[in-house]
């Protein structure tokens, strides 16, 4: 039944990694969604932008460092990564601090993009 249907899925990430499991488990859904050949976009705003920060070293907290997975997403044909400019600025970050290529956009542009989606999942 789902065969052939292509919907626009947006995954909205607004939470920092490690403090809670949301970022990691969100990424797991994103990877699975690739198998369904859907039109997938990822949004990082608020503390979610920290998920993409370069240089994560998690050995000391004995957690798996899942940040390299974001770089592997284009291998799954997931290439639409959008980052909220205002959220970066509020956290002392710029695009150069991020470990993967993204499209940075304003909050209003982000809102307009959301309007074009079929399914929005937030974690």
């Amino acid at each position: 039944m789902s065969e052939g249907t292509i919907k626009k899925f947006m995954f909205v990430n607004r939470k920092a990694p490690y403090g809670t499991i949301y970022a990691l488990e969100s990424l797991e859904v994103v990877l699975i969604s690739a198998a369904f050949d859907q039109d997938v976009s990822l949004v990082f705003m608020d503390d979610g932008v920290f998920q993409l920060k370069k240089g994560q070293q998690t050995k000391g907290i004995e957690n798996k460092n899942f940040s390299p997975t974001y770089r592997a997403l284009d291998g799954y044909d997931i290439e639409k990564l959008y980052v909220d400019q205002e959220s970066l600025a509020a956290r002392g970050l710029t695009e150069d601090d991020l470990l993967v290529d993204v499209t940075v956009m304003s909050r209003a542009e982000m809102g307009k993009l959301m309007e074009t989606m079929d399914v929005v999942l937030s974690f």
Binding site: V12, R14, M45, D46, E86, R107, A108, M110, G111, K112, M114, E115, M117, D118, V119, V120, S122, F123
Partner: protein, 98 residues
């Protein structure tokens, strides 16, 4: 689209993020977010301002549970769970600002 917020505006930034991104449509406040739509709350001004561009609803049972029903801001519509369902059906897309 329908924006759903369930956080107190004084504890988390979900309402602020939602309002700064929203391009019209509707806002439904549920759970602890209902406090935002009550008279005297520091966030009430944001809700009043938002009403210029979007319809604002609260989940009535959540307001009742918290003893805040008589403080509901003017212009905000209270709905029950059936009304929640109707809103989701009315708007093609919805987002929960968790």
């Amino acid at each position: 689209m329908l924006h759903i917020v369930n956080k107190s505006p004084l504890e988390r930034n979900a309402l602020d993020s939602c309002l700064s991104a929203a391009q019209g449509g509707a806002l439904l406040l549920t759970e602890d977010a209902v406090y935002a739509a009550t008279r005297g709350n520091a966030a009430a001004g944001k809700i009043t301002a938002a009403m210029a561009g979007m319809k604002v609803y609260v989940l009535g049972p959540d307001l009742d549970a918290r003893g805040m029903t008589d403080r509901l801001l003017e212009g905000v519509t209270s709905v029950d769970y059936g009304g929640f369902v109707d809103l989701v059906a009315e708007y093609p897309t919805n987002q929960s600002w968790l």
